[in-house]
């Protein structure tokens, strides 16, 4: 059986990091940094999600096949949000052709 058993120490370390990041994102939210607020919030959220995925969900210790599946899921999400927003945000850029 070659299943990797993650140590308890790693689990508690990741847990602590997640709590610290949660406190950080909440604290930063109260300061007006303009557009950077959103960037910071997303960077922290993505970091937390990565930690959960890599260590709690064992993606770090998974086969390449599993990792390809995970990445491809994110790819479709990026396509959905990316193409949708590129549509909405470019509306009205081109003049209507009359006649």
């Amino acid at each position: 059986m070659s299943e990797k058993i993650v140590s308890l120490k790693v689990y508690f370390l990741i847990f602590g990091t997640l709590m610290v990041l949660t406190a950080t994102t909440t604290w930063v939210a109260f300061y007006d940094l303009g557009r950077i607020n959103t960037v910071v919030a997303l960077v922290i959220a993505v970091t937390k999600a990565l930690l959960v995925a890599l260590f709690f969900m064992h993606v770090k210790y998974s086969s390449r096949l599993t990792r390809i599946a995970v990445v491809s899921g994110l790819l479709w999400l990026v396509i959905m949000i990316g193409l949708t927003m590129s549509d909405y945000l470019t509306r009205g850029w081109l003049k209507q052709i009359s006649g």
């Binding site: 299943e3 308890l8 949660t22 007006d32 937390k48 599993t66 479709w76």
Partner: protein
């Protein structure tokens, strides 16, 4: 790895060559399902992104109506539950039955705590007429798009809560199975795969919390001056 009937594990299905292949296939199956869930929630995240892009100030103001303390506590509760879930899986990996049962029960308890806090939050919304379609009364400018914020809030946290309820149901079944000695270091796939599901639900909330609760906190008085 031995093949054939001698030395094979009793939980090995006939179409797999060994337990590792079976485990890998099960894990991949759960990940494929989680990818569909990413798109499921992703559709609503897309709606959120669109409406927020066009009405940023209204969304920030409306966000301040949410209780950041309860939301923050719930975030902590879910992170704890992910830890206890990981420890439950660990318990089955090392064959410690009482440890795995204990942490499965803890995870259930934390999940129920999350839902209880959510219920309190929803009750507040009903009291303050912030439920779309039910005498929605918004005292600040642009109630039309504020109502959009609350529609998205209820739809996304509601769908998330439904996933929590289903997860708690599955965890309860796991507790019964564990008590009946169904898991061992060689076979604990149900616990592992439920763990993947539970961590995914946690990840959804990791994004929901900042996007729904933290939007308008930098505004003076939450924008409600």
């Amino acid at each position: 790895m031995t093949e054939g009937h001698a030395g094979t594990h009793s939980a090995l299905a006939h179409h797999f060559q060994n337990m590792e292949q079976q485990r890998e296939a099960g894990s991949l199956g759960m990940w494929v399902f989680l990818i569909t869930e990413v798109m499921f929630f992703g559709g609503m995240f897309t709606a959120y992104v669109v409406y927020r892009a066009f009405h940023p100030y209204t969304f920030a103001q409306a966000s301040s109506e949410l209780d950041i303390t309860l939301g923050g506590i719930n975030t902590g509760v879910l992170i704890c539950s992910s830890l206890t879930m990981a420890l439950a899986v660990y318990g089955t990996q090392v064959g410690k039955k009482m440890m795995s049962i204990g942490f499965l029960c803890l995870t259930i308890f934390l999940g129920l705590a999350f839902l209880g806090i959510k219920a309190v939050e929803y009750a507040h919304k009903f009291e303050h007429h912030l439920v779309p379609g039910m005498n929605f009364t918004y005292p600040y400018p642009d109630p039309k798009h504020a109502q959009m914020f609350f529609s998205i809030y209820f739809a996304m946290t509601g769908l998330h809560a439904l996933h929590m309820i289903i997860g708690i149901g599955i965890l309860t079944v796991l507790v019964v199975m564990a008590a009946r000695n169904r898991f061992s270091p060689e076979y604990h796939a149900p616990v592992e795969l439920t763990g993947l599901y539970w961590h995914f639900v946690d990840i959804v909330w990791i994004f929901l919390f900042p996007l729904l609760y933290l939007l308008g906190r930098h505004l003076e008085g939450g924008g409600h001056v």
